[in-house]
Amino acid sequence: MAQRSTAIARPILRPPQEVAWRKDLLGYRPVRWLVRQRWLQFALILPNLFVFTIVIMAGFLGTPIGAKNFAIIFVWIVWWALLILVLVPFGARIWCAMCPIPAVGEWMQRRAFILWKPKTFGLARKWPKGLRNLWVANFGFASIALTSAVLTTRPIVTGAVLLGLVIIAAVTHLVFERRTFCRYLCPVGGFLGLYSMAAPVEVRRVDAEVCRQCQFKACFRGSTEASLRVGGVGGYGCPNFEFPGAPMERNTYCLLCTECIKACPYENITIRTRPFFQDLQVEKGRKLDEAYKAFIMLGAAIMYSIVMLGPWGRIKDWANFTSFSGLLLYAAIFLGSILVAAPALHLVFTWLSRVFAGGSRPDLKKLFVDYAYTLVPLGLAGWIAFSFSFVLPNISYALSVLSDPFGWGWDLFGTKGYPWTPYAPHLLPYIQVPTLLLGLVLSIKVGSRWGIPLPGKTSPHPPRPGGRSSPSLHTWQV
């Protein structure tokens, strides 16, 4: 791989200063080999597509009893638990690399399952400028979240919503370029993006100088004949409109699809481990739409804990859409608290802290947006804590549903009769409180970084290869 002669020297794969926490995963040969295989993403998607198909079938054809239906148990308990407890906190948007929802559309658009082809199929329109943000996804998420008591307990609704997403994604792929759906529309993508900033992995360019001299910009434009003569295995330009060579500084919109790694002729993109919550220190790219996502997520975690886990039957009736007036009331309370009350509260406290701060006062709107990012560790911890409280009591359904996915009386693996067994439900507070405390401590830590003088400020450090300034790294090792 290294014996190509090019005008630009290939960068050293390992960044010169390897620190604890930072490992260049592509420094390992098998990993490097793997991410350069075109079939990798297909292989990741395929098993998920299989499960997904069963989910949709179970949703439409299986028993309407949620707890006995594969769709409900595998989407809202198994998948959700994996996502929020493992994949997002440790793997950023790795789910998006294997997600079956946009797969059909993307395959049609590329006219290929695996191969790289220079020409794509479809109208390849550009998404309207005014909508190039998360607002559509935010409102989509909020309205889906409003229906969650119904969505997560009625198989047919789960099946219909998931199928609907696949169809919308497919149409979007045929009309618009790349994964417009994932970037601007997907209701799941928004929160994956927000919390993926916490994850200890990142796809980043290696050497800024190589990118500066690179005339191909294949990581954004995709491979060309010319770029392939220099290197790369043939890759599409970033499907999610990122430009890793620019550089890309946060995980928010990176789907970990590895196309840029394949496309870059200079092998100048790598996957690294890093300290948790690193991206929260990156000022560039902070925006109100993302900030709102933080309120929506935190607000929803709080609301769900009250509605779903609380003992109040009346509220459950409202959330279950049993009466129209109840639904209206619930919509007003739910949407009001996640879209209005949570941001308003945040505004009040932002304003207060600005008043208290004295001295030169930073712009209130900027402060409002900046501070919203300190809610990321807390919000993630809140979701983890909330998820434990329904995952542990109900995960045992997964075993019986596995043997009888449609509730038709099958017993594929002999586990159909496995009884409902809540695991350690009385220990939940002892899991939740430490989780939340950790979230709180990390939130304060993240936020305090902006108010406290940092080491290294007086002596200018050279920028790190990742384009990140060194002080944030130092403080993480505190």
Binding site: A149, L352, F356, G359
Partner: protein, 186 residues
């Protein structure tokens, strides 16, 4: 010194301590909410009243998807007896941490009893699939005095205060050091 803070989003300015206090206020408040609803939601037991060890009996009706009354209060050491009847379909009653699991039929009383020997909130939940919100059919027995609640709240305040203090002291230390460094080079 200023160059970097601007990068990080905020200008360096005086009154950092107060600034931090403001910030921690934001966070503590939100966290407070979270903790409240997940753990307890306003169920502080009355401190007054006779000590535990009494016999307590409650009549509870189960319906889709809740128990009524939603929350009962007892004291540590009380023997609690629940007389449960269903208003609609067959429900269940599983008491977290006690291994008690019973069925609740319409028009027929099911009696379960246990000693409230754990402070804080004891949840019981439906164990018979009774409709779509079945997994969220949950009732609460609050065992006072609620040490778990007060412990958690105290921990929260401690953790928040401790973190702010630690970061603040570290900040001072770093500033002192960097001032020394500048003095040294000047």
């Amino acid at each position: 010194m200023f160059r970097h803070t601007r990068r990080m989003g905020l200008r360096s300015h005086g009154g950092r301590a107060r600034f931090l206090t403001g910030l921690s206020l934001v966070l503590s408040f939100v966290f407070f909410l979270l903790l409240l609803d997940i753990l307890v939601v306003s169920n502080v037991s009355q401190a007054a009243g006779p000590a535990g060890g009494r016999e307590r009996e409650f009549t509870i009706t189960a319906r889709q998807f809740a128990y009524s009354p939603p929350r009962i209060r007892v004291r540590l050491g009380d023997r609690v007896t629940l007389r449960v009847t269903s208003e609609d379909v067959v429900h269940g009653l599983y008491i977290d941490g006690y291994g008690i699991n019973a069925k609740v039929y319409p028009g027929q009383e099911t009696v379960v009893s246990f000693v409230a020997n754990r402070p804080g909130k004891i949840r019981y939940r439906c164990s018979v699939i009774c409709g779509n919100l079945h997994p969220f059919m949950i009732g609460e027995v609050v065992v006072g005095p609620n040490y778990t609640l007060w412990g958690a709240l105290a921990l929260t305040v401690l953790a928040a205060g401790g973190t702010v203090l630690m970061l603040w002291r570290r900040g001072e230390e770093i500033r002192d050091r960097s001032e020394e460094a500048t003095d040294g080079t000047a």
